[in-house]
Subunit: 258 residues, 2 copies
């Protein structure tokens, strides 16, 4: 398929190259400056760098909008397209409706569920891609496009994607923050963070193959009041952290009862 990409950031960077490598043609890349767009088109033979949103002069089966969430609506509003193109955004947290109604185009979502940075290579084959279309035809076409770069393609509605995003906040954003708190505690005790690494990896591996609630360990699930009291005392200079400790402990204990 012929694909135009709006954006030259981390997602655009990997998706554009992934699509080109699997037999699709990236025909144009837009960024706010030609220089930024060219950095990516330099890697994509045949692609045109653009600093305007008029795509009527290039072939576009699909136009992918890979820009920050807050900019999607405004970009979609300014697009000039050849009728019959599909316009899809790549955001996990935004509904399909943020694109509004675009004259002559079906709309959709093409969401690669991974964090990207330009420096780090990504095996897109293993990255889940969640698609949604405003019409049956758009959904099918986006699925077909996703299947050309990934083996893990799912059709997920905006409503379900919102639930997925909430689950990802718990599993990734909050987990990352807890790992940060843990490293800070180790640092204060003058201990290397590497010490906990094998245990962290084992925790994740086990959670991937079991229901985490059934393999929960630690003072909360054991109801070990002395250890919990000791820990709260160690945190006495940080009331917010104390409160987070208490509530997570309570949540673990309620899961045991339920």
């Amino acid at each position: 398929m012929n694909i135009a990409i709006v954006g030259a950031g981390n997602v655009a960077w990997h998706v554009a190259q992934g699509l080109q490598a699997t037999g699709n043609a990236v025909t144009a890349v837009y960024s706010r400056t030609l220089t930024q767009a060219s950095e990516l088109t330099n890697l994509l033979p045949g692609a045109v760098a653009k600093a305007d949103l008029d795509f009527r002069d290039v072939a576009t089966d699909v136009i992918l909008i890979a820009v920050p969430d807050a900019a999607i609506f405004s970009v979609a509003n300014q697009l000039k397209i050849t009728p019959g193109s599909i316009v899809a955004h790549t955001s996990g947290s935004q509904p399909i409706s943020v694109l509004g109604s675009i004259d002559g185009a079906d709309t959709g979502v093409f969401y690669p569920l991974q964090t990207f940075s330009k420096q780090a290579p990504v095996n897109l084959q293993q990255v889940p891609i969640l698609v949604e279309g405003s019409t049956e035809q758009a959904t099918q076409k986006l699925e077909q496009l996703a299947q050309s770069i990934s083996t893990k393609v799912e059709h997920v509605t905006s409503e379900k994607r919102k639930q997925l995003h909430l689950a990802a906040v718990f599993a990734c954003n909050f987990t990352n923050h807890l790992l940060g708190i843990s490293q800070e505690l180790l640092q204060k005790a003058d201990l290397t963070k590497d010490l906990l690494q094998p245990l962290i990896q084992e925790t994740i591996t086990k959670a991937a193959t079991h229901n985490p609630f059934t393999v929960q360990t630690g003072p909360a699930i054991r109801g070990d009041k002395n250890v919990i009291e000791d820990h709260l005392q160690l945190l006495e200079n940080n009331p917010l952290l104390q409160s987070i400790y208490q509530q997570l402990t309570q949540s673990i204990q309620e899961k045991k009862l339920s």
Copy 2:
């Protein structure tokens, strides 16, 4: 060295076999019943199964107490030993002082920092072992023993081990619980938990090589109030989870400011 082991649970199981495999001799294993002790001594040529705590009839450079935290004090109290032995427990959360003072023995801690289950093989070489002794000599001997099975041996005091344990609660126990919450949310939305697995693994990998606070992503760090409001609404039937979400969000935002 000649080692006797009190306990035949998960830790005893792996540590005993690891010690035997690296040229030490496990001379005895105690459990409350001979049958349980024999299950382990059957795998350890030369080891005697015991259902009493009198170790005066076997050679013991070190006696390792690998029993539940609550039983350590009582076990240590009942031990009958050959003077000159070192008595060490294997617990992460208990201070060396829980062993009390044992006539004729130095005391210590020999703590393998990993979760063990009998079924799952463990590469002890990669498991950090934290040791502490009541005397310089005991510390050295326990370090030497630990180095025979692991490349990651550290001398850590009881005070620091307590801090480490607190850090492990955040990084492992609480993280595991968040992964459980996440899986439950996915299940409610009829989505497979495998979807988030690549993102979770990437989160952990990144946190191992960066300061997690500097690579934080998600609505909290972006200050995305609309998404946060949406998420809190999705959790409206679970006030505890709402509160955990709010406090972790606040903690992420305070880290950004600090």
